[in-house]
Point group: C2
Chain length 108, copies 2
DNA sequence: GAAAGCACTATCTTTTTGGTAAGTAAAGGG
DNA sequence: CCCTTTACTTACCAAAAAGATAGTGCTTTC
């Protein structure tokens, strides 16, 4: 059986691998919220409404490790940190375009 | 704020709604495994390798309720039950096409 | 007559997720 | 001086999801 490996984990197919990046409670939504431009921690938080600090920082950390997001910290006080999609992350956007489409049709 | 409703749950955007259908540990993979043809319980199980009986029947049940899958039971012994994508379910396939693509690139 | 196949369900344990609250460091405003 | 702002981390507890294992009822095969 062919397998696919990413960050030390083995997946049995490419879809499984992709789902590990965008599935889960918050990962997909965080990526999607950065589709147009870089945003700060609290901006993302306000957009996702029901996420809390703990979940957001956990999710951001993971996505940075997976090289889906860039983290840019300005040395200011109060702190300013911006998150944006990497090239790898931007390539996920066509998936979200299709999801948008399906989601809109599903509620009709 | 605009909201989207499906099966009594409210989502703040169409992507959130779609993720509730294909995200989660097994839902997406079960849908994807039925992309070409109807399959029986044990066929799906063999394909997904690490899923167990409980998770598979739970996932199938949920997807049938959401009208993503059809369940067809033949009155035979030993039992024969086939699962297939509904029209609504088939419309999810472009999402998986994009996921496949990304997953294949990600391991390069 | 034991074992395997089928599509499940029931029960239990472990892991993951979520929720709340508190703490940090330094600057700016009242 | 105290409060606010920012982007976090840590601790603790509760709830939800996932996972492991066993059992069911009936038939065909070895």
């Amino acid at each position: 059986m062919k397998t696919y490996q990413l960050n030390g984990t083995i997946y049995y197919c490419p879809v499984d691998l992709t789902l590990s990046v965008i599935g889960g409670r918050w990962q997909g939504l965080v990526i999607y919220s950065l589709r147009e431009k870089a945003k700060r921690f609290n901006e993302i938080k306000r957009e996702l409404v029901t996420i809390n600090d703990k979940m957001l920082s956990q999710t951001l950390k993971k996505l940075v490790e997976q090289e889906i997001l860039n983290r840019k910290s300005y040395n200011e006080i109060p702190p300013k940190v911006e998150y944006s999609l990497t090239e790898k992350g931007k390539k996920l956007l066509p998936i979200f375009t299709q999801m948008e489409k399906w989601g809109k049709e599903a509620v009709l």
